[in-house]
Amino acid sequence: MTKQASPGPPGQGDQDPWAAFGYLVAGVAFYGFIGWALGRWLHMAYLVPIGIVVGMLFGMYLVFARYVFRGDGTSDADSAATKDKDDGSAPERRGRDHRGEKK
């Protein structure tokens, strides 16, 4: 029905590119901390850099899982599902709201 000019279906809520940064920071901080704690406990200080690298790997894995792996398969299904839902009721309501607002 109504065509959206914007790229991708609206309202996905998954457009925050900073989430990638968040994953990397969280990975390094969390597994770095575990490595540090284990290193203190077992007297193996080299666990800190190992923890940091492992955390960075997990962070990168999450970035890939979110933005790359589901880029082809699931996200198409998602957008198709959203479109189907939109065709039911949303476009009419959206259109009416706009005409109402413009006055």
Binding site: Q4, P10, G11, D16, A19, F58, L62, R66, R94, K103
Partner: protein
């Protein structure tokens, strides 16, 4: 290289952002009142100005808009359509008031950095940016909990989608940290750092230019360098207009994105 110019000039730094309050107390003195400072007053002024702008441009809505109504409506429509509708989706209208207020509040406070005599971007003091991000943080977490229930929301922010079961317990802490802890920090620090760095550059070029022009001796190129510093400072001032607008837009956009993520049925 210890020229006399370098010896007498104190470069501006973070300490220049700690202004004394209106009663004359310095920031580390007993009796310092944070609200009665320049940024504190600018914050209130920003709220008043943002309200006044929106009220003034919309108080007599007409079918054929006047120039001022058109200006206000284009700015409002830009946030409503490009931020509200395109990010939040079908259920966007009830968030439009919040997004528009946020955008205008932030842009007015940012533009204070280049308004003569005010000349201080409120959010170059990090605590104000923390406060704003805390508001957004409470809001989107509350929206998620109301939409899906506390446990359902906890599952959404903890369990990443598209990850096999044997990896979930390894990456779940990262998903949680990234969604709940890192987000508000980056949200506030991005706004703060942009305004802080821009204002510091302007302070540096103005005080450095003044020093080179008036006090520096020893070389004939120093006074032209002072003029050049002022030209650079003015150029940075224009750049700051762009940065102020962009940061207000980015903050609003991310707020909408977080709300949309908290509302989304499955992500």
């Amino acid at each position: 290289m210890s020229s006399p110019a370098a010896a007498g000039f104190t470069a501006p730094g973070p300490i220049d952002f700690f202004l004394p309050d209106f009663l004359g107390h310095k920031w580390d003195q007993h009796g310092y009142i944070p609200v009665l400072t320049k940024p504190g007053m600018l914050l209130l002024l920003g709220a008043v100005l943002a309200f006044f702008f929106l009220w003034y441009t919309s108080r007599r809505g007409e079918v054929v808009p006047s120039k001022r109504q058109f200006f206000g409506e284009s700015a409002y429509g830009f946030i409503r359509d490009s931020v509200g509708r395109d990010v939040i989706g079908p259920d966007f209208l009830r968030w439009v008031p919040l997004l528009v207020s946020l955008f205008f509040f932030i842009i007015v406070n940012n533009l204070f950095g280049i308004v003569p005599f005010l000349q201080f971007p409120t959010f170059s003091r990090v605590n104000y940016a923390y406060g704003l991000a805390a508001l957004v943080w409470i809001l989107y977490n509350a929206v998620g909990m109301v939409t899906k229930g506390p446990l359902g929301y906890l599952k959404q922010v903890t369990v990443p989608s598209g990850v096999p079961w044997y990896l979930i317990w390894l990456v779940a802490p990262l998903e949680f940290l990234s969604n709940v802890i890192v987000r508000p920090i980056t949200l506030s620090l991005r706004l703060f750092a942009n305004m802080f760095a821009g204002h510091l550059l302007i302070v540096l070029f103005s005080t450095g230019g003044a020093y080179l022009l008036l006090h520096a001796t020893g070389s004939p190129v120093l006074k032209p360098a002072g003029v050049l510093a002022y030209v650079m400072g003015i150029a940075i001032g224009f750049l700051e207009i762009v940065v102020a607008t962009l940061q207000a837009y980015v903050f609003t956009l991310l707020t909408a994105s977080y709300i949309a993520g908290a509302q989304a049925a499955e992500h």
